[in-house]
Subunit: 444 residues, 2 copies
């Protein structure tokens, strides 16, 4: 069987703790979907190899989009300059009345194309018609963890159907995993959260949901129920089952000891472009979470608010907003933010041991980046270039699970023109508000 | 004489007030460095035309980088994760001991290349050896306003020399203007600011300086002298003479009535990536400034802290951080942030009447952007794409002063490989700290 050999490439090493570094002139050997060796460039090991010339490029671990709603690319730019209330109630939830399997599939294909071309090799998704998203992911070659979304308001049949979809997806493909996807603590009641946690425990699922997105939500929970959203997650068993919390900007100091108890199985995804754009007032308290041992990933959220699925942009925003939040320019240094977008994302995806670093034995999710363009030059520190000046367009070649899915900036797995044409043809159907109604009402 | 005709292009119209819009299927006629007509695509007007096919592209006014230190690209990534004090005192000002005319020229050439390729057609610069920056700007075809930098600590001869350079540059080339460049209210004393203002008034210069960069600086000024930096600028005649204030994050409510008195001649440049990265605690109070009638532009500051000279990135950061600052997602809407990066920048450059919009009679500074890639698709609102999803790499063609300086993503005016090789060859000399000393000490 032919393996893949990336020759003479600089390799970004992301240790579990401590400084990241770039080792120059390395050869990366890939066989059977895994990295088998990383060695100084030298004579080629015996065997049949498809060779990729990595000279002049930096190999980085595939980025992980730790929280998104991929098909929402279909609503990109359709809900601008709105408060969080209006964004949900005037636009997004009324628009989502228009969702159909076909429209979700078309959106997910576009999203997978956008992410792969930008060096995102795994995405952690939370949306409706997740079977369609899975199909797009499988076709595109990307890796994904998919949580079929449900609200309590949709009734028990809808919840059962979403959970059944998760069961189906969990055996679909080696690159696809599934999580249970209750929407949020404010849209799924405690009974349904308990049932979710029970099923997750019994069947080995993780849970992915929105919680404490803003401090207003936390305060509202305290006012109405006397408990914070984190306390809700604890008492319903969601934390015990293992969960990915999207956003968590409203996580309070008093919640940290709770999360610390489940730090081996709870992760948080931070998507700060969204927090600024919606003027949410807070960003994820990453410093406190990390002190509690909770692993944090970087995400884009959906493109209906983030406008891109660009994890380079997202990781840069995390670094900048964390420095701002802590009033400390030395906090969230280069190595730490790189670690969040790679190893942190791997943990958020439930794949901490198999992706997130370039090491023998891990799945071969590898991105080759060209830092030779003027906006990255000269390079005094390649880590700084990867955090503060790189553009997604600097991604040249992308390998997922040992397969070359982007070669010389072109998708190998899908016809991009067709993907784009399909999205353009259906875009207007997604944003049509003439049907009336909404899938949910935002009143946390 | 041959004119330039951009055929069948979508045109971003940026009015002085109100909503921006995109007019489809337009022809832009350019003659003698100016836009002569913008008409619906139709039969070609009689004359000799170099035709550029604009179909599928959006023409936007060339972006203005309202505040930068262009040669600092040579220090890109060399001063990361540092407090503002350490950034100045441990890195940048000790490094600037190494400045030579050649090194500044090499850096400025790289900066001009980076900016033009990203659709920045004008930059407003503040640095040493400004004659070298001017030479690079002239060579590259970009438009620039250049302020030769001086500190009081360097003595009267250095100040005289900087002012003499400004005089020389003001007659060098039609695309180059000059301003007087005292560094800041905390590095140039009141006597020197008064002399600067007198010369500016007498000779028709504008002034470009740093002031109230942080609230700490403002508080320090109040503690030491009993006045805010804005009061210093007023009493020394700097506001009266007309000035561009870089940053102004420490401008207080009480300063606004002062600035309102000079609103016809005072502008402010906002570079918020820097404010977050250095954990400065504040961003420019744009809402208050605009209410006082003060025009605001968007800038990158130097790449030693901003890491790029990408005004798309900068304008997006302004929009996001302004929404955050005002706790209002409806503030700084799409049309307003586009206006800041174009008309606002034009005002900051002292060119409010000649650049900053695509209108007959204005200089032909035109950028053609391709929004067809997956990360911008589908397009429900092209303004949203230009603010929240576009990448600098989507810039295809750039016209400055009627000249095509970037064609199909390639510089026409300079050999990019040579520019990059020169920068790489000298990069280590800029960051060498073995000489000891510093050009200045930060203790505002």
């Amino acid at each position: 069987m032919t393996g893949l050999l990336i020759r003479d490439v600089s390799v970004l090493i992301v240790p579990v703790v401590g400084e990241c570094r770039v080792d120059e002139a390395q050869d990366i050997y890939v066989q059977d979907s895994r990295i088998t060796a990383i060695t100084p460039t030298g004579p080629v090991t015996a065997g049949e190899w498809e060779v990729i010339d990595g000279s002049g490029l930096v190999a980085v671990p595939g980025l992980v989009n730790s929280h998104t709603h991929s098909p929402m690319v279909m609503m990109r730019g359709a809900a601008e300059d709105l408060s969080i209330d209006d964004w949900f109630n005037q636009r997004i939830w009324p628009m989502e009345v228009n969702l159909t399997p076909e429209r979700v599939r078309v959106g997910a294909r576009l999203a997978c194309a956008e992410m792969l071309l930008a060096g995102v090799t795994t995405f952690v998704d939370h949306y409706f018609h997740a079977d369609q998203i899975a199909a797009a992911a499988v076709e595109s070659g990307i890796r994904a963890d998919l949580a079929p979304t449900y609200f309590s308001s949709a009734g028990p049949e809808a919840i059962d159907a979403a959970i059944a979809t998760a069961r189906e997806l969990s055996t679909l493909d080696s690159r696809i995993t599934a999580s249970l996807g209750p929407h949020a603590t404010y849209t799924v009641n405690d009974d349904d959260l308990r049932r979710t946690a029970d099923i997750a425990q019994a069947e080995g699922f993780r849970i992915h949901l929105h919680a404490a997105e803003t401090d207003d939500q936390t305060q509202s929970s305290v006012d109405k129920y006397g408990v914070t959203p984190m306390q809700v997650l604890e008492r319903t068993g969601v934390l015990e089952a293992g969960t990915l919390i999207a956003h968590g900007c409203g996580i309070r100091e008093s919640d940290l000891p709770i999360l610390e108890r489940y730090a081996d199985r709870v992760t948080v995804a931070s998507c700060p472009k969204v927090y600024l754009k919606l003027a949410m007032g807070e960003v994820t308290p990453i410093k406190g979470l990390q002190a509690a041992g909770v692993r944090v990933g970087v995400g884009t959220d959906g493109a209906a608010v983030h406008n891109t699925l660009d994890v380079w942009e997202s990781l840069r925003m995390v670094a900048l907003t964390q420095k701002q939040r802590e009033h400390d320019a030395e906090w969230m240094p280069l190595s730490d933010i790189i670690r969040l977008a790679t190893r942190g994302g791997a943990a958020a995806a439930g794949l901490a041991d198999s992706i997130g670093a370039l090491e023998p034995g891990r799945q071969a999710d590898i991105v080759l980046v060209d830092l030779s363009k003027p906006h990255n030059q000269p390079i005094h520190d390649p880590r700084a270039a990867l955090v503060y000046s790189v553009r997604a367009s600097d991604v040249v070649t992308v390998v997922v699970d040992g397969n070359v899915v982007v070669r010389d900036r072109r998708l190998t797995t899908m016809d991009l023109d067709e993907v784009l044409a399909d999205a353009r043809a259906l875009a207007h159907t997604l944003v049509d508000l003439s049907q009336g109604g909404a899938v949910q009402h935002y009143a946390p």
